[in-house]
């Protein structure tokens, strides 16, 4: 089984609540869920939709075929009806002037219930009945999800919808042992688990929900959340906090990240650990503010004037977001560098069921030196060492030693020094850490047959779509494999080189125009990429899209 429900309507009509209820009901019935979200940049009106896909099997992305379309506006039908399967249905208000749809007497029911906010929940009732989902689970879920908020009204609405519906399917409940979470929540949780104590940022879609999630738990977790005046302040402020010894974080989308570029370079020369993220949306400039793209890869890798070691990690899915974010803090602390998490609107917002995160797997490694271990009479914040990493003290925690960090080229003490000798040594010291990072980075995840004829290569949030593509393609013809990069700078090349040697065709898949991942492959390897599947319309690519493109390419170009 593998079903998709699409709920569409205008901003402000409450499709979020419908989706939340349906998701939780289906999840608690034991199914895997993947919910894709498509918003316009409006607070009221326009057209938004969400697509809940669910299955007893693991699913990794949304798909293009809909079993049930719940249209809260007439426009929704026009836009989406082509996606409805031949045996699928469309439900909507009886006033809409469409044929081939099931019209529900929302008006009448709402009048009976006495509150027009209940339309959505009537639909939920209908849908639960249609799929033959367990009634009790649904009722209990509504009670717990809505808490006091109009439970009575919504239960009545649910029942009304349930009663007018008819069951086409009968879904046996399974054990529910997963969580349903999106990428931004997972990222935020990873940061909290890693002990972040200072988060500052400026609202910017699609990054904002990380800040609001942390803010919601700020008091309970003792975290300072500061909404700054601008993104320039954000990274500078976070660097102050990190210098003072707490784990600090900031994040934004491309435009806000652009304003942090100068301070990123500051983190580089000051050797202050910092974790920040760029939740990409399509640019340039304001671009499509509520949509998705992977076009900031090169921008982020090369961000900052001058040369300094940094690490860039592309997050692949909510689970990855959680564990990689926590790991990023350890890496930042270990190497005293900025670590940039690259995510995007798609991953930020889609929700999926995953195994509950294992907090016992998270370790916190601060690499902070005890004052008593410092032998130099005057503390050398930038002491030359074999690794390039200098022992780190925290100001004020160290009782005798003083900690001076500086944005100029400086000597070991942190004092301004323009000499050739110091410059060369300090550059070498800092860049040595980049060499160490090359040993630290994780190779991309490989999925597929061990000796692939066709190798797909992607990074970050396309993970799910590529994984599902591989599973589907290999079930037909077991000749596909895929490498999906998480750690992406420094660029890991071992697995890539070894699988590329085996493959006859190499196809890069990414959500941008210039095929930036390919440009990294061109720069760092001798591999010839045969084809780039690119999507830059602001909508996430899924496995339907990928398989279509691959088949087109392979049929033109026989292996």
């Amino acid at each position: 089984m593998d079903y998709s429900i699409l709920i569409g309507g205008a901003a402000g009509q409450g499709i979020e609540t419908v989706v939340e209820l349906l998701e939780k009901i289906i999840k608690r019935s034991g199914f895997n869920i993947f919910t894709y979200k498509d918003y316009m940049s409006m607070v009221r009106g326009g057209h938004n939709f969400m697509q809940i896909r669910f299955s007893e099997n693991e699913i990794f992305t949304y798909n293009n075929e809909i079993d049930l379309l719940f249209a809260m506006t007439a426009e929704t039908i026009t836009i989406h009806k082509d996606k409805v399967k031949t045996d699928g249905i469309i439900i909507c208000d009886e006033n809409f002037e469409d044929n081939d749809v099931i019209k529900l007497p929302f008006d009448k029911l709402v009048k009976e219930l006495g509150d027009n906010r209940a339309i959505g929940t009537i639909g939920v009732g209908f849908i639960v009945k249609y799929f033959g989902i367990e009634y009790d689970i649904a009722v209990n879920t509504i009670k717990t999800v809505l808490k006091d908020k109009n439970v009575e009204l919504n239960l009545a609405a649910f029942k009304a919808g349930y009663e007018i519906g008819e069951s086409k399917f009968k879904l046996e409940s399974l054990e529910d042992n997963k969580i349903l979470i999106n990428g931004n929540q997972a990222l935020a949780l990873g940061a909290i688990a890693a002990g972040v104590k200072f988060y500052c940022g400026y609202p910017m879609t699609p990054s904002t929900s990380v800040m609001s999630y942390i803010s919601k738990h700020a008091n309970e977790m003792n975290i300072v959340v500061d909404q700054v005046e601008d993104e320039v302040a954000a990274l500078n402020m976070a660097l102050g906090a990190s210098y003072a010894g707490v784990r600090a974080m900031t994040g934004s989308s491309g435009g806000g990240f652009a304003l942090m570029v100068e301070a990123l370079s500051l983190a580089g020369i000051m050797e202050i650990p910092i974790v920040l993220f760029n939740a990409q949306r399509p640019g340039p400039a304001t671009g499509l503010s509520t949509r998705s793209e992977q076009a900031d890869l090169r921008f982020v890798i090369h961000a900052g004037h001058g040369e300094f070691p940094k690490m860039v990690i592309a997050l692949r899915n909510p689970e990855d977001a959680f564990y990689q974010t926590a790991r990023a803090f350890n890496l930042a602390d270990k190497y005293q560098i900025p670590v940039i998490l690259l995510t995007d609107e798609y991953l930020a917002d889609y929700e999926m069921t995953v195994k509950p995160f294992d907090f016992s797997r998270i370790t916190i490694e601060r690499y902070i030196t005890n004052e008593s271990e410092i032998e130099d009479e005057r503390y050398k914040r930038y002491k030359y060492t074999d690794s390039g990493i200098s022992p780190r003290l925290i100001p004020g925690i160290a009782k005798e030693k003083l900690v001076l960090v500086d944005s100029h080229e400086h000597n070991e003490y942190g004092n301004i020094d323009e000499s050739i000798e110091t410059r060369v040594n300090m550059m070498k010291k800092r860049m040595k850490k980049l060499e160490l990072l090359k040993e630290e980075i994780k190779e991309p995840e490989y999925i597929g047959t061990e000796n692939p004829e066709v190798l797909l290569v992607g990074f970050g949030s396309t993970y799910g779509a590529i994984k599902e593509s591989i599973l589907r393609l290999n079930s037909q013809d077991d000749k596909f494999g895929a490498l999906i990069f998480g750690d992406i700078y420094p660029f890991p090349i071992e697995k890539l080189n070894s699988y590329a040697k085996k493959a006859k065709k190499i196809i890069v898949i990414e959500q941008n125009y210039l095929s930036q991942l390919k440009s990294l492959i061109d720069e760092y390897t001798d591999i010839k990429v045969d084809k780039s599947i690119l999507k830059y319309d602001g909508r996430a690519i899924n496995s339907d899209d990928i398989i279509l493109e691959i088949n087109k390419f392979l049929s033109n170009d026989t292996i």
Partner: protein, 282 residues
């Protein structure tokens, strides 16, 4: 307290007002007997901003215009630290203008000493936001066309609870102001008149000397209107001293876990503590 002093030879010009500001700072900290290791001096970029290199304190010498944001991050992370920001007029009121006004809104407990030489010193003499209208500079060949900022009227309007003006030529008076600013709970702003002997041939030591006067003993620094008027006085006569001082709730007091708890930097970190947060996702 004894903040080592001769670590590094300042690269300031002979006769520069910055030397005396450094003397005043040293004296203030010594009088207050604060451990150097408990003080962080934060600065941006410019001549004034080199201060962390020339005095024995913890130091964060960051980016031009960006001294205040890290200072906030530092203070919120470790409330036990005394956080002092020193930077130039260009740094603070020009490049850093947005941080200046929004930092005041927070009322973080930091002391902010602006070396106001009414010029960009380090970059060789361009106009700063406090350079007088019409003054000729190495960039404004036919005179400055922007009206100068009044830093004290601005911090008053933004709601600062401690607003003062000092003069580098009166070290004792200045160091007393600094002490008050450091002791004040909340954001304390001192704009310090500082001659730049190379680039500002208008606002010289003598120019300042001839104009500054100390506020009367009976001046009521809790009176906002009086303070605002004094702030506007910048011409033939220039008042120095505390123009305004009232108590205000500070930023950290608004975070109960900071107000009541230990400094954040001392928190024990344990991932398991966050595990409960998973509940809502089931």
């Amino acid at each position: 307290m004894n903040c080592e002093y001769e670590l590094y030879k300042p690269s300031w010009c002979p006769g520069c007002g910055n030397y005396m500001i450094r003397d005043a700072l040293k004296k203030a900290l010594e009088d207050l007997d604060i451990e150097p290791s408990k003080v962080v001096l934060v600065s941006g970029i410019g001549q004034a901003a080199k201060m962390p290199h020339y005095i024995g304190l913890n130091g964060f010498n960051g980016l031009h215009g960006r001294a205040l944001p890290p200072a906030i991050g530092i203070k919120m992370s470790n409330k036990d630290l005394t956080v002092i920001v020193e930077s130039g007029d260009g740094d603070t009121y020009g490049e850093g203008g947005n941080h200046f006004i929004h930092t005041i809104r927070r009322n973080v407990d930091i002391a902010h000493f602006v070396h106001n030489n009414q010029i960009y010193g380090l970059t060789k003499g361009q106009a700063s936001p406090t350079t007088a209208l019409g003054q000729k500079t190495t960039l404004q060949f036919d005179g400055v066309k922007l009206n100068p900022i009044n830093p004290l009227a601005l911090s008053l309007t933004m709601g600062a609870g401690f607003v003062a003006r000092g003069f580098s030529g009166d070290v004792k008076h200045l160091s007393n102001l600094m002490k008050e600013a450091i002791l004040y709970k909340g954001y304390a702003h001192i704009d310090i008149l500082q001659p730049c002997v190379v680039w500002n041939k208008v606002n010289t030591f003598k120019w300042y000397k001839d104009r500054v006067y100390k506020l009367n003993e009976d001046y009521d620094y809790t009176d906002f209107e009086a303070a605002y008027k004094k702030a506007l006085e910048f011409g033939d006569r220039i008042p120095i001293g505390i123009l305004y001082k009232v108590e205000k709730e500070t930023y950290d007091q608004k975070f109960s876990f900071i107000e009541k708890g230990k400094p954040l930097v001392k928190a024990e970190l344990n991932p398991i503590n966050a595990q409960n947060l998973l509940e809502e996702f089931y």
